[in-house]
Amino acid sequence: MSTHSDRIIWRRQLHGSLVILKKNVLLYYLKPPVLIFGVLFPVFFFLAFKMGRHISTGAVVPGMVAMALWFTASAIGPLVTPWERNAKTYERLISSPISLCSILAGDVLSGFAFGCAISVIPVILGLLLTNAEIANVPLLIGVILAGALSFSSLGVLLSAPPAASPSNIMLLSNLVRLPLLFVSGIFVPISQMPAWAGWIAPLSPLSYASALIRTSYGSVPYFPVWLCFLMLFIFTAVLFAASCRFHRMYRAKGL
């Protein structure tokens, strides 16, 4: 049973995470690396996939939503810590009475909020400009929330290694994000992918989000819905726990 002082400490830590979220919104949402890797990347991938192929625009909307969610939610994490280490502001944060995990939780919330907000854009554009129809709105909202949390945690984990420059971590994050994009059923449903890709797909959190988004647009679910949500929450928990561990390990490096 938690004591009164424990509750106060928890409340202070939660408040600290929200202050970190506010700081990140003010400082990082409009930084060029976030806009390039978080917003422009999915647009270019969409164009590369769509142009010159006989696929109805409506059919690519679920993939576009999944891709936007993937890139935007995981774009903030790899930027914040390397940027702050570089600017020496990281020391201020870790000497404040906020635990490292609370700081990272604030970073996860920043990616989560950014991912959710930007993912709404392809959803709305799909409804306005294409024949795509949402079959299950609560499911779509649920997967955007769960997926954003999971992808944002991945972004925060990727920012753990100390780097001479923030661009090194952005490169690393793309080395992880891009291969996963191609085996997660974004462009082609997992059921239609080669067998080897079908084996790798369950290892990617994007596969479950992508499958759920397709289901919310009326496709037959590749994975059971409950399993997708369970896996997204497991990915979130594991990735966040790993973030706390690795950030703690590398905390003093390169300061």
């Binding site: 700081k23 404040s96 905390r251 003093a252």
Partner: protein
């Protein structure tokens, strides 16, 4: 939480604290304590372990061994609680350059959970006191180095700390900013704030510190008040003399009993000795015997800089 009455007056208590980086020992089993209301100077040459010590005490890096207690909280076991009592002004002003002066200040206050009304009132009072009110809405990147350092001090003080850590706070600053920061720190100390300061500026340390510790190669070489440290380095006491028209021959000065060395800088002679009073008397007698005349005669204690050089191995220890 350690709640012994004997430790209440010791705001910081450090026991056998060490930090290694691979095979290199940056801080080697240091012990000291800082009492409530002190300005405690931490002096040492570059690479001596000053910043590593501050970083351990402020939770930025973890000690390899040993312990430190701040306001009754162990920095390892109760890290967050110990950090609630402190604020840090690092050597390099690490403000958020893309935020305004006011936003920087409020962000820090919010992070420390300072209530809204208090952070606004305190923020405005501090900006006024540190001459930043007219820069309130300017982006931090537009500030000069001195103004950024003032903002760092504001951001530290707005959290209402009980212990303020200052790492080379006036290094490389313009005279006005350095003087203002010293003035504010001294005034806050008069009001009860405990200050832990590292500096290379020996005059600053001698002027404002209640006690100083000299750290060299990761170990504490000496701790005491600046006055006591100056007295302890007896071989650096000297008699300073200026002669009218003609000075005695150097050999005669060196032959005075207890004189360990003589330096001459233009017309000023320095006779180093552990017994400056008797050497001054002998010098007067010698001058009269030679039919010469003294224009000035003073006995001097070593400066804090002499003490520093003595303990860091560059002053003939």
């Amino acid at each position: 939480m350690i709640d012994k009455a004997s430790e209440i007056e010791s705001v910081i208590r450090v026991n056998n604290l060490s930090r290694k980086f691979g095979n290199f020992t940056a801080v080697d089993n240091i012990d000291f304590q800082v009492d409530r209301g002190e300005i405690f100077g931490f002096l040492g040459p570059n690479g001596a372990g000053k910043t590593t010590t501050i970083r351990m005490l402020t939770g930025i890096i973890e000690p390899t061994s040993g312990s430190a207690i701040i306001q009754g909280h162990d920095i390892r076991k109760e890290s967050i609680l110990s950090r609630e009592h402190i604020a840090v002004v690092p050597e390099q002003a690490n403000v958020y350059l893309d935020l305004s002066v006011w936003r920087n200040l409020m962000l820090m206050a919010e992070l420390y959970g300072v209530p809204r009304d208090r952070r606004i009132n305190e923020g405005e009072r501090l900006l006024d006191a540190l001459g930043l009110m007219n820069k309130k809405d300017s982006k931090a990147r537009e500030l000069s180095k001195g103004l950024k350092q003032r903002l760092m001090l504001c951001a530290a003080l707005v959290t209402d700390p009980e212990v303020l850590f200052l790492d080379e706070p006036t290094s490389g600053l313009d005279v006005q900013s350095a003087r203002l920061i010293r003035k504010i720190v001294t005034e806050l100390n008069d009001d009860g704030l405990t200050v832990f300061i590292t500096t290379h500026n020996m005059i600053e340390a001698g002027d404002i510190c209640s006690r100083v510790a000299i750290i060299n190669k990761g170990r504490i070489a000496a701790i005491d008040t600046p006055g006591n440290l100056r007295s302890m380095v007896r071989k650096h006491h000297y008699v300073e003399a200026v002669f009218r028209e003609q000075a005695p021959p150097l050999k005669k000065l060196e032959a005075i009993p207890d004189v360990t060395g003589v330096e001459c800088d233009k017309e000023v002679f320095r006779l180093y000795t552990e017994t400056p009073g008797s050497v001054a008397t002998m010098l007067v007698i010698l001058t009269l015997d030679l039919g010469l005349e003294l224009e000035q005669l003073n006995t001097r204690k070593p400066s804090l800089e002499d003490v520093f050089l003595y303990y860091t191995g560059e002053g003939g220890k």
